[in-house]
Point group: C2
Amino acid sequence: MPIHDFTSQRLYLDTPLSPGATVACTPEQANYLRNVLRMGDGDALLVFNGRDGEWKAALAQRGKRNLDLEIGEQMRPQEGGPDIDYLFAPLKRSRLDYMVQKATEMGVARLHPVITRHTQAERVNTERMRANAIEAAEQCGILRIPEVAEPMKLERVLEGWDASRRLIFCDEAAEVKSPVEALRALLPPHSRGEVGEGGTAEQQSSGFPPPLTPPRKGEGNCDSPLAVLIGPEGGFAREEREMLIAKPYALRLSLGPRIMRADTAAVAVLALVNSVLGDWH
Amino acid sequence: MPIHDFTSQRLYLDTPLSPGATVACTPEQANYLRNVLRMGDGDALLVFNGRDGEWKAALAQRGKRNLDLEIGEQMRPQEGGPDIDYLFAPLKRSRLDYMVQKATEMGVARLHPVITRHTQAERVNTERMRANAIEAAEQCGILRIPEVAEPMKLERVLEGWDASRRLIFCDEAAEVKSPVEALRALLPPHSRGEVGEGGTAEQQSSGFPPPLTPPRKGEGNCDSPLAVLIGPEGGFAREEREMLIAKPYALRLSLGPRIMRADTAAVAVLALVNSVLGDWH
């Protein structure tokens, strides 16, 4: 029987992975591999668990009804990524799915639903969020699955905030200014080059909190912990905006003169943060 | 009868708009206004046509079956936006809808489907693209509707290219380097500040084509024409990549170490281009 190569297919397994290990498939996984992908005995695909990197795994029929995966060689070591918490006011069903997939593609470390005054969806299915994060990771070859936090009210999130984690919040009501310059101003002067427009003097002169650790050469990642917050589609309430602006660890960011939907703003700000402070170097 | 304010609702009308004008609704529009929004005689909403700005308009019943809109005061003048052509390998149905909506929110001037070697969807419904652009503009209050071009093969697009329009193409196979620095290097030295990492020396020394006109103070827009190209999900074919790299007007851009889906990459690169060269200042 010919052995087929399915190594453009990736499957998430919630189990430790090591060379020579055997993993029993769940009935859903067995159905997917045999009936959707039409894989046969000996065919190989890629598997990962979010911790141990990416591995080649071959199907092995066990008896009539059971299917094993035999773990072969490691194809890629585990990858890290920027330490970005992604906080967001949850959206309704399909748009929340989409937003979770997009944030995963953008490499965030944690997904944290935050309930604000104008939030549309109060109930959040965190299991579904996790399934969407896994699906995006499988499709895009991302090896780190973002953690999913339980929904929490904005006030409570800020009460327990670790001030060493900068909070970048996007605000449609903010004056339109270069978001790149605003993000660069979080870095120490020697690593950001000359700051152009002069619009960031206040951030430069404010002594607290200290500038971020600059991205390391080669690795590119800014070591410092970051968080990005996207508010609800109705925008932040006035009290929420004032509460956020008052926090010394918070940076209020404009995303240009046009209104964007929340899932669009998510990708836009994460692209900017990854480019200036994250691992797009 | 009470008059209700529906001015958070926007409706696109394909007709000239001026104060005091009367516009007859199509049956679809009349159905939407009366039965979906539940608007009554005298209620007002916002209308726009992509050319004449945004106007207040009041419903006026005419006979039993016809509905007019009476155009009142102008609420916002027509807005421009960056001169960005957005070129993309078309995706399948719902993901193409989504991509068109996202590009509209990001303020592109033109949507141009480009057929590449690995393009998934050969047939493109440009009417549907236009409807999605209008829907996004209605929802987000965008006053300029992007033009929709007919699909064209990549080779033909490049044959007819105006070399004064820089073509920024995203390539997963490009070395990971700061996209912000790469885009800043398109600007003349005095308007970009000190370029940090030194990774852009080749672009700085290459004399052709000349640097872009810098964004104007206040307005913020880079006057120079730009284009952004997102390839198919399978990536560019080798010959296509070589053809693009050889063009003096082309800039090959990396969007970081992770693979993204094409609609995600679209928002990411347009956020970066708007921030460095467009109107996010």
